[in-house]
């Protein structure tokens, strides 16, 4: 009996003692709830990349990685709970995949000194690293997205959009309203007429909005949607026979989930892309060998190569490269969140690096700095082929209009700094 008690005590002590050093990446995922169809592939891609690094390379710099998944259901309160529950585990960087959760976490991560990466979502003005020391939104943000869409339309119209009518159909939330100011500024610059049309959550019923579009006959429709709003909008656009090639969604309105329910009606629909599409990259061969074939894939392992899987995979790649940079800067393999922030602030993604990683031309080449946490702000345009059921990239990398966006970022971030008594400065290393 004594022996058994003693062995139980030893086991309890071992369980309570810190685990061996590892690099912890919390994944605030949503595999349940109304946005699960978008959350699952992202979470799978994020987890699979780190599994690949562990299985193939023995982790990063000799230290194994650990993905700490916490289910948020896309619920802001649960997202904050997840943050609080996981930050003590040595979490290196948070990727909440929700603008609502991002806004709640910004003051927390600034206080705790843990980096937050909001890739193509969240608070756009967080691109000003002097105000938001721990928040990064590279490689592109919402305002870049709005500008990229307009630049694409400019290209299609010989550089002149004057007199054209553009409607923005947006999710009636902080997220959906993000591009309005940029589009208004750009409308002043390029002379197009902008109409904004709000769709209430969740967006299951959009008859009024599409009847309005049918009445007003805009030349182009830009969409800022997420979840069921995307599928219904694309179906309604097909119903009113709106020309799909004139319908462009943000990168959160451009996954397979969004177009498949509309069938052939979605053919020609376009969306922004912050990374490449498909699975025709050398790294996916390694993924098959080390992760998929060995049964170590996250989830059902059936999402590989989908748009949102690639996004999660890409986000994990950027996190892993930031770890390598941090290890290089500090000369330590087992890094802290503060070191991770330094790695992220010095991150440089080149085409040569992506090729070396087996991901040639997967994303834009960009460099992060203390001042600029937003990356290059580039994006591509992808178009849906309903027959082949695949997305095709139809443009090269398009630069956003920094002349318009940068002043907006500065104005918004400086207002935030003034409200919160922040003196803009680079973070101490």
């Amino acid at each position: 009996m004594k022996k058994r008690l003693a062995s139980m005590a030893v086991a309890a002590v071992m369980a309570a003692s810190p685990v061996l050093a590892d690099l912890v990446f919390p994944s605030l995922s949503y595999r349940t709830g109304p946005y699960a169809a978008g959350g699952i592939p992202f979470a799978d891609g994020y987890a699979d990349y780190f599994t690949l690094l562990n299985e193939r390379d023995g982790g990063i710099g000799g230290v194994m990685t650990r993905v700490l998944e916490c289910e948020t259901g896309y619920n802001t309160e649960k997202g904050v709970e997840c943050y609080e529950a996981t930050k003590g585990e040595g979490s290196l960087v948070y990727q909440p995949l929700s603008t609502g959760i991002t806004y709640q976490l910004i003051p927390k991560v600034e206080a705790d000194g843990i980096p937050l990466h909001t890739m193509g979502y969240g608070r756009t003005s967080a691109a000003n690293g002097k105000v938001f020391n721990n928040v990064f939104n590279y490689p592109a943000n919402y305002w870049d997205g709005a500008s990229i869409a307009i630049k694409h339309l400019l290209e299609e119209n010989g550089g002149d959009l004057s007199g054209k009518k553009i409607s923005l159909v947006y999710h009636n939330s902080a997220y959906g309203k993000e591009p309005i100011r940029t589009l208004e500024e750009l409308s002043g610059k390029h002379g197009y007429e902008l109409t904004t049309i709000a769709v209430d959550h969740p967006g299951q019923e959009q008859k009024s909005q599409w009847l309005q579009i049918r009445r007003e006959r805009p030349d182009y429709v830009i969409m800022w949607g997420w979840g069921v709003m995307n599928q219904v909008a694309i179906q309604e656009a097909a119903n009113i026979r709106f020309p799909m090639e004139n319908f462009i969604g943000v990168w959160w309105s451009g996954s397979e989930n969004d177009v498949l329910p509309a069938g052939d009606g979605a053919n020609g629909y376009k969306s922004l892309a912050m990374h490449n599409v498909g699975s025709d990259f050398p790294i996916y061969d390694d993924l098959k060998t080390y992760v998929l074939d060995t049964g170590k894939a996250a989830g059902a392992g059936d999402q590989v190569g989908t748009v949102l899987y690639n996004r999660g995979f890409y986000a994990a790649m950027l996190a892993a490269e930031a770890v390598k940079k941090a290890q290089e800067i500090h000369g330590e393999a087992d890094i802290t969140p503060a070191m991770m922030r330094d790695g992220m602030a010095a991150l440089e993604i080149t085409e040569a690096l992506m090729e070396e990683l087996g991901m040639p031309n997967f994303g834009p080449a960009f460099a992060v700095s203390c001042e600029n946490h937003g990356g290059s702000g580039q994006g591509k345009i992808q178009q849906w082929d309903a027959t082949a059921k695949e997305w095709n990239i139809i443009s090269d990398w398009i630069d956003s209009d920094k002349d318009v966006i940068q002043p907006l970022i500065m104005a918004d971030s400086e207002a935030f700094a003034a409200e919160n008594n922040i003196t803009p400065a680079c973070a101490d290393s």
């Binding site: 699960a36 169809a37 009636n172 709000a198 008859k207 009847l211 219904v232 119903n239 329910p261």
Partner: protein
Amino acid sequence: MTDQFLFGVEVVLNGLMAGVLYALVALGFVLIFKASGIFNYAQGVMALFAALTLVGIMEGQVPFAHLINAIFGTDVHYFGWNVPALAAILLTMILMVFFAWAVNHFVMRHLVNQEPIILFMATIGLAYFLEGVGDLMWGSEIKKLDVGLPQGASIWVEENTAFLGSDNFFGFFIDKLDMVAALVAAVLVIALVAFAQYTKQGRAMRAVADDHQAALSVGISLNFIWVLVWSLAGFVALVAGIMWGAKSGVQFSLSLIALKALPVLMLGGFTSIPGAIVGGLIIGVGEKLFEFTIGPMIGGATENWFAYVLALLFLVFRPQGLFGEKIIERV
């Protein structure tokens, strides 16, 4: 006629069609409330579950595939066959009947004589349970539902009404799916009313709705009636799931269509089948007209909240709803 007037007429027509779709969801609530006094919070999730099951059967998906694969290390997802839509609908209906039996056997019969709030809480639990089972059984990805229903604008209507206005009027837009939904809803209401009025089971159902104890005393089986009512609600959920699922694909958000049914119920009354239809039509037309006329002045996206405002306005004058039974309590 001016174009603006014609656009208004188009909005009313589409409001009527949208109202029918809301009413389809509301009908399920009414059936159960009428027979058992239970406000079934799970009705929206039942529509989701029924639609998920229908697509799963049609595509030959292996139910609980992820669970099976995780436990046994297998890699099965599909049986390799497709089931025709009609057969799949029948099989789904059989499952919904089984679900009705299970709800009654494992939940409701243990709660006989409990307060209505307890029964309501039980249906909240049921909704979350069914949501989880649906995910586990068929997966969370968005599925395309194609049972052969027509979809898109009716070109015939467009072409034959375009002459009414100027060149800026393109004819009335009516979605063919909405027309089918209106037809289905009409048939459904007639069938349900006829069932309740002219069949033995229907009369028994009404007797149970009036007084459980009295119905029991004349030999009506409460268990049978409740299974019957939950089965009918399951059938209505399946129809609603098909109509809404054809628009947006079958996905979790289908369960949220219940939110659209609440103002319809407040307006039409919780106990009237025709009330659900009339309530749906009033809500559909009211919210669409408000969005068309006032919406642009106040930033749009008014439909969700305006439906409730409209229902509340009616409640001020008729607390029991348009067709609901007046509750008189003697003291």
